[in-house]
């Protein structure tokens, strides 16, 4: 008889339904997981692999990145031999983002650290030529200072 009474009480008060309602009510007040991307820029991780940036002033045209690239999207042109003895900066540097898979294999062998991933990820374009970066477009897109500051900020954030 107590069992039957207990069952009747449970049947009339719906404890399961109430607990279910409680769960949804809890989630109603929690912060939402949606990222408001175009309105608010996302906080990228410290080692986010964005577009490749090259510091053409420190590059020594050693072609290590060109050899390491699995997709052959990097092409480096050394200066003529006489110039190369004194000035090792490349005369031309091509990166094709159409082929780049953002694997980071070119970044590892670089002896001077002049090629690296940036935090830039908005690379969509209507023109194919926009994906081919050369000597004229690379330095202008380059924002090493900003990039290094970004790393520093991230490090500081991590330290805290």
């Amino acid at each position: 008889m107590p069992g039957a009474l207990h069952r009747l009480v449970r049947m009339m008060t719906f404890p399961e339904l109430a607990s279910g309602l409680g769960v949804t009510f809890k989630w109603f007040h929690k912060p939402k997981v949606t990222e408001f991307y175009p309105d608010k820029r996302p906080v990228l991780p410290y080692r986010a692999k964005g577009r490749l940036h090259v510091d053409l002033e420190t590059c020594i045209s050693c072609k290590m990145c060109e050899r390491a690239c699995p997709e052959d999207c990097i092409k480096v042109f050394q200066p003529p031999k006489e110039v190369f003895k004194t000035d090792k900066r490349p005369v031309q540097f091509f990166i094709s983002l159409e082929h780049c898979i953002h694997c980071g294999m070119c970044v590892d062998p670089c002896p001077t650290g002049s090629i690296h991933h940036s935090q830039e990820f908005e690379m969509a374009s209507y023109l194919r030529n926009d994906y081919l970066f050369d000597r004229t477009t690379l330095p202008y897109d380059l924002d090493v200072k900003h990039f290094k500051q970004g790393i520093l900020e991230n490090v500081v954030e991590k330290g805290q």
Binding site: L17, G20, W27, K32
Partner: protein, 349 residues
Amino acid sequence: MTFESLMTYVGWPLIKIVILLGVVAFCVAYTVYIERRLLGFFQSRVGPNRVGPFGLIQPIADGLKLILKEDIIPANAQPFLFRIAPIFAIVPAFVGFAIISFAPPLVTGAGVVHPFVVKDVNLGILFLLSITSLGVFGIVLAGWSSGSKYPLFGSLRSASQMLSYEIPLTLSVLSVILMAGSFRLSDIVDAQSKLPFAIPLILAFGVYVISAVAETNRIPFDLPEGESELVGGFHTEYSGMRFAFYFLAEYANVVLVCCVATSLFLGGYKIPFVPYETLLAAHPILVSALGLAVFGVKAVLFLYFYIWIRATFPRYRYDQLLRIGWMVLLPIALLNLFLVAGIKLWLLR
């Protein structure tokens, strides 16, 4: 016929009907917005927020899109019934609002009373119940005339569901009528000036809430339009404005159920624990405005509960649905009716 009598019997009701239609259509459109927004919150999303500030223009954009879409009539359909079915669905949903008094009557001068209701029918509840049960015709006709199997299944399910749940709903409303001693909606609201009926008639209120969810074909009783089983249910073959009619009818029914629940169980436009006479002595216009606001707040709270239910529960199986209707809700409603009748007969003479 003089101008005055023409105004009394035709003019003022027409003006009221036009205002009410506009307000109700606006409320229904924004009920859709509120529902999508709150559902988003319940599911840890944000809901529509792109069109206008906080996505507030979203219902207008949706309506515009549906108007501009092509109106397709399938080759197998019966064109006349197919065309007329959405009207059967939407008209009862909007007509039901005619008897609901949204605010206390405005008293200006000696004996001049402006009621905030299109027509305070003396058999208001019966009118409401009979009109809203006409809505099932729209669904059945849609399923029958579409010439497709999913709408037919959906409409058959809907017919049995709405007929089953009509009975507990009516019985729970009957106990309210017993308590108030009148079929007139304004009398029922007046009878709740001390205590909302939801407290003494808690059983009837529970039965009403559950069967109202089933009557409006919403989750967890949304079998007639179960997306995972029946594509879209009875409105699978509809597109464009005719689909919008079904959409509007569904949400108009939701708003109507909220308004009726507010009037019958939550005390209508009465402010809880504040005697009506002291307020009326203060300022008549203030009383009406406050009453309207209180009615709105109660209805929106009930709507919130409705959406909360939708965000929480999964869909019932078909046999479970009918078993709840016939074997749980109907006995509870009958028991409640007997109890209320007994109390009314012997204790509250």
